[in-house]
């Protein structure tokens, strides 16, 4: 098999890249702005008010119409791989989206709360958590249901 000079240069460069590149596993890295289970446990449906929630978690990234519900969300990095060749040249990282939704009664008391967990997605868009349609559909279905034991 004969190679042209150009093909030899390309193959040599490719071989050198593959040999020098480094594949680094990305471990599960946690989340940014995560609401802890301890904080969630402090919110008592039927007792806690909108003021209690705001004093605990501050302003929510998603506010329902007339503040009938709040959604706090965060993304969790599940893991993946990085290929580094002098600098990261390729990454495949799985992330999942998590929503804490709180619905309020007309008097401002928490009527119900629920966690929604999205599936892990590979290299999702940066706004996949705020615009995560499966979770939004689940949220709308849940909001339409009457509160039962705060859920």
């Amino acid at each position: 098999m004969k190679f042209t000079a150009f093909a030899r240069v390309v193959l040599t460069t490719l071989a050198a890249t593959v040999q020098t590149a480094c594949v680094v596993p990305v471990p599960p890295l946690g989340a940014a702005h995560e609401v802890t289970e301890q904080s969630i446990a402090e919110i008592k449906p039927g007792i806690s008010t909108r003021a209690d929630v705001l004093l605990l978690l501050a302003d929510p990234p998603i506010r329902g119409e007339e503040d009938r519900y709040f959604v706090y969300f965060w993304e969790r990095t599940r893991g993946g791989v990085l290929v580094i060749f002098y600098m990261p040249i390729f990454s495949a990282v799985a992330r999942s989206c998590h929503w804490l939704a709180l619905a309020f009664a007309p008097d401002g008391v928490v009527a119900k709360l629920r966690m929604f967990h999205g599936d892990a997605q590979l290299n999702p868009a940066s706004d996949f958590c705020s615009a995560d349609s499966p979770l939004k559909t689940q949220l709308e279905t849940w909001l339409a249901e009457p509160a039962q034991d705060g859920k």
Partner: protein, 134 residues
């Protein structure tokens, strides 16, 4: 070229390659470390020293006018202004309110939440850290 010289060069290339791989691996591990340090939670600040920096916030005695005189207009309001939120940034050992039209607002770490009573005096408050490390 003598065989031993070729071997020596190959050996040196191999050593350099191993060294480069080690550096890249270290860089990767470092990158993972940096990324994992980004893991943060939303927590109410309980540190007394930090809360002392907002000592003027005396529940039951400080009026809305005094708060707005010090911090300006709040970032967001709830329940017709009964509950307000300020974005605060810690700068040189002091908390500073970030104006509502500031582009940095989303990245600001602290939120000050104030609840006013019907007479306009502040009744409850809390400082929330959105970038608390575990």
């Amino acid at each position: 070229m003598f065989v031993w010289e070729r071997n020596r060069r190959a050996s040196r290339r191999h050593a350099e390659s191993a060294e480069r791989r080690a550096v890249l691996l270290f860089a990767g591990v470092l990158l993972c470390g940096v990324l994992s340090s980004c893991a943060t939670t939303v927590e109410r600040v309980a540190d007394v020293d930090e809360l002392k920096l907002l000592a003027f916030l005396q529940a039951g005695s400080v009026a809305r006018g005094e708060v707005e005189g010090r911090l300006g207009c709040p970032m967001t309001a709830y329940e017709d202004g009964r509950i307000v939120v300020y974005a605060l940034q810690k700068n040189e050992g002091r908390f500073q309110a970030i104006p509502e039209n500031d582009r940095r607002l989303g990245d600001v770490r602290f939120r000050l939440v104030l609840v006013y009573g019907p007479d306009g005096t502040m009744q409850r408050w809390s400082l929330v850290d959105r970038g608390s490390s575990r």
